[in-house]
């Protein structure tokens, strides 16, 4: 199944990826081959088969509503490229 360059650009935009023209071409071909591979699944007769939400045959795994110690603020912020010891800092964003 061919993947057009505009489809690639749209997906890249959604994933916030910047692609060069060469990369768009490369990714188009790569995506086409993986999509073709996955398309084989369409050949299996699935009438009457319940859609599966998870490959494991388990369900309803829950935990009690009790507190578990988390990270200190110092630890929480430590992986961040930029912070002011209180909050994570990110480039200015427009109000939502």
């Amino acid at each position: 199944m061919p993947i057009t360059s505009s489809q690639v650009r749209k997906v890249a935009q959604l994933a916030r990826l910047e692609l060069t023209e060469d990369e768009v071409q490369l990714v188009s071909d790569q995506l086409a081959s993986i999509v073709t591979f996955v398309d084989q699944l369409g050949e299996v007769a699935t009438d009457g088969v319940e859609p599966m939400a998870h490959p494991l045959d388990i369900h309803t795994v829950v935990r009690p509503d009790t507190e578990v110690p988390g990270l200190s603020r110092e630890q929480a912020l430590s992986n961040s490229p930029n912070h002011n010891d209180e909050c994570f800092l990110v480039p200015p964003v427009m109000a939502r």
């Binding site: 749209k10 935009q13 959604l14 916030r16 939400a53 998870h54 494991l56 388990i58 369900h59 309803t60 795994v61 829950v62 935990r63 009690p64 509503d65 009790t66 507190e67 578990v68 110690p69 988390g70 990270l71 200190s72 603020r73 929480a76 912020l77 992986n79 930029n82 002011n84 209180e86 909050c87 994570f88 800092l89 990110v90 480039p91 200015p92 964003v93 427009m94 109000a95 939502r96």
Partner: protein
């Protein structure tokens, strides 16, 4: 309803923060107001490899809410990823529910604010669980400084309750929200504090404009940032007028313009178009592989149904059955379950329902306001109030002396009715005393006597005041009647 050349069509999406101790998928606390970034862990920060596990209490609260909203509860429900990029969403996706929400179709009935005695019904499409995002604090000034991100709220459980577009006026939208909040409060599933963001509403709004034989629908606008009941009413009023004048200007209908998002600016009193996120509708939902599906067993549902307790609609009915008018029943039920209990205890002790209702709405509620306390902390018990109101009903104490007793009991929590009466010098005035008092009054007020003889009875009121100065125990009603009789007998 105001006569407008269009029909206003409103659907509401309400986000309710559920009162769990911990977050939806991790054990971090959900308490409001903590210092920034002190309630996080690898799960809610979206660290690689961290795995979410469902909070059973969030599920129980969602089921409880769904049952009270007459929703079908799913026997199998699952989790989906809603992908978008925003700095306060650390994973790059929100765990939500797409096609198998925990609560399916339901409805909520509420009193029609514009037609007394009528009921409106809002059909609900669904209610689903999802995790909240964090909080972004933007540079208010030039917008050039970095934005600050606090992730304490990230992962807090929300129930999003989505209505059909069944609301046709700003007043109705507000009334629905007030009823929904009251119900949630009775259920104990959320504190519903709008200032702290525990209850947030977005509205989808458009107009249906009659054009000869057909109806034109204006483009749908989603109004965000409705943080108070007043904001809901004002924003919807503004937005309906704005859409009508926009349509008069450009004539564009729903097929000619995409759905738009506008934010309510409470200070300016206007809705403002928000920058459209590119491809904003493409959230690429897919089942979250980190989470297994949830099965809800019939016996779990049955137990939740049994535990629902009395809800506002049923309690209003009960209070009306006890003899209250719809309005009064609603005022008492709106004060919360403890006030209903207080009312019912007083009535069960023998006080007349209407009198209890009126004293609760005036003296009790005023005192609670003044002292900034709840009915649980109120020093006069339902039994004490009942005793006082029974004495008034029997005529042992008149209403205004009753108020003195009420005040005395407030200041002397240990006092009973008899000791309060003794301390205030309240005693029955016998007929001879009363007649002597009235004759004295008439002798002192010949002008009023003359007026009454001419049929102008207004002056009798002044006599009551004068009587109470002479003897505070004189029953105003009796004074008035006796004076009137004496004057007429004399004429």
């Amino acid at each position: 309803m105001n006569q407008t050349p269009y029909k206003l069509v409103i659907g509401l999406e309400v986000h309710v923060q559920l009162s769990t101790r911990t977050k939806l998928f991790c054990g971090c606390p959900t308490a409001f107001g903590a210092s920034p970034n002190t309630q996080t862990c690898p799960v809610c920060l979206g660290h690689p490899g961290a795995l979410p596990v469902m909070n059973e209490q969030a599920i129980a609260l969602a089921i409880r809410t769904g049952l009270a909203l007459n929703c079908e509860i799913a026997s199998v429900t699952k989790w989906d990823r809603k992908s978008y990029f925003y700095p306060d969403l650390p994973k790059g996706y929100q765990i939500s529910q797409f096609d198998q929400p925990i609560c399916g179709p339901g409805y909520l009935d509420f009193a029609d604010p514009e037609n007394e005695g009528e009921t409106l019904r809002v059909r609900l499409i669904r209610a689903h669980l999802e995790e909240d995002a964090g909080k972004s604090m933007h540079d208010e000034g030039a917008g050039k400084a970095d934005s600050q991100i606090d992730l304490n709220r990230t992962g807090t459980p929300l129930l999003e309750i989505v209505s059909e577009p069944d609301l046709n006026s700003p007043e109705a939208a507000k009334a629905y929200l007030i009823e929904l909040r009251l119900l949630l409060t009775y259920l104990g599933v959320s504190d519903c504090n709008m200032q702290e963001g525990s209850l947030r509403a977005d509205a989808n709004v458009n107009l249906h404009i009659a054009q000869g034989d057909t109806t034109v629908a204006t483009p749908i606008v989603e109004v965000k940032n409705l943080n108070s009941f007043r904001a809901v009413e004002r924003a919807l009023t503004y937005e309906s007028q704005r859409q009508y004048s926009q349509w008069q200007k450009d004539g564009r209908d729903i097929t000619q313009a995409p759905k738009q998002t506008r934010g309510w600016d409470d200070a300016a009193g206007v809705t403002v178009a928000q920058r459209e996120k590119e491809e904003s509708s493409d959230y690429r939902y897919f089942p979250d592989p980190d989470l297994v599906p949830l099965h809800i067993e019939p016996r779990q549902l049955e137990a939740a149904r049994q535990a629902l307790g009395d809800l506002p609609a049923a309690l209003r009915e009960r209070l009306r059955y006890a003899g209250l008018k719809e309005y009064d029943a609603n005022v008492i039920v709106s004060q919360g379950r403890s006030m209903v209990d207080y009312f019912e205890q007083a009535v069960a002790s023998g006080a007349p329902a209407k009198r209890v209702s009126s004293w609760i709405q005036q003296d009790v509620m005023r005192t609670l306001n003044e002292q900034e306390i709840s009915i649980e902390e109120f020093s006069i018990s339902a039994l004490q109030l009942a005793e006082l109101l029974q004495a008034i009903e029997k005529g042992d104490i008149d209403n205004s002396r009753g108020k003195d007793v009420f005040q005395y009991c407030l200041q002397h929590p240990e006092a009973d009715l008899d000791s309060a009466k003794a301390a205030l010098g309240i005693e029955a005035v016998d007929q001879g005393e009363l007649e002597a008092l009235c004759r004295e009054l008439l002798a002192e007020n010949p002008k009023i006597v003359a007026q009454v003889k001419e049929g102008n009875v207004k002056g009798l009121g002044a006599l009551i005041g004068a009587a109470r100065k002479k003897n505070p125990n004189a029953d105003p009603k009796q004074v008035r009647e006796l004076c009137h009789q004496l004057i007429l007998a004399d004429a």
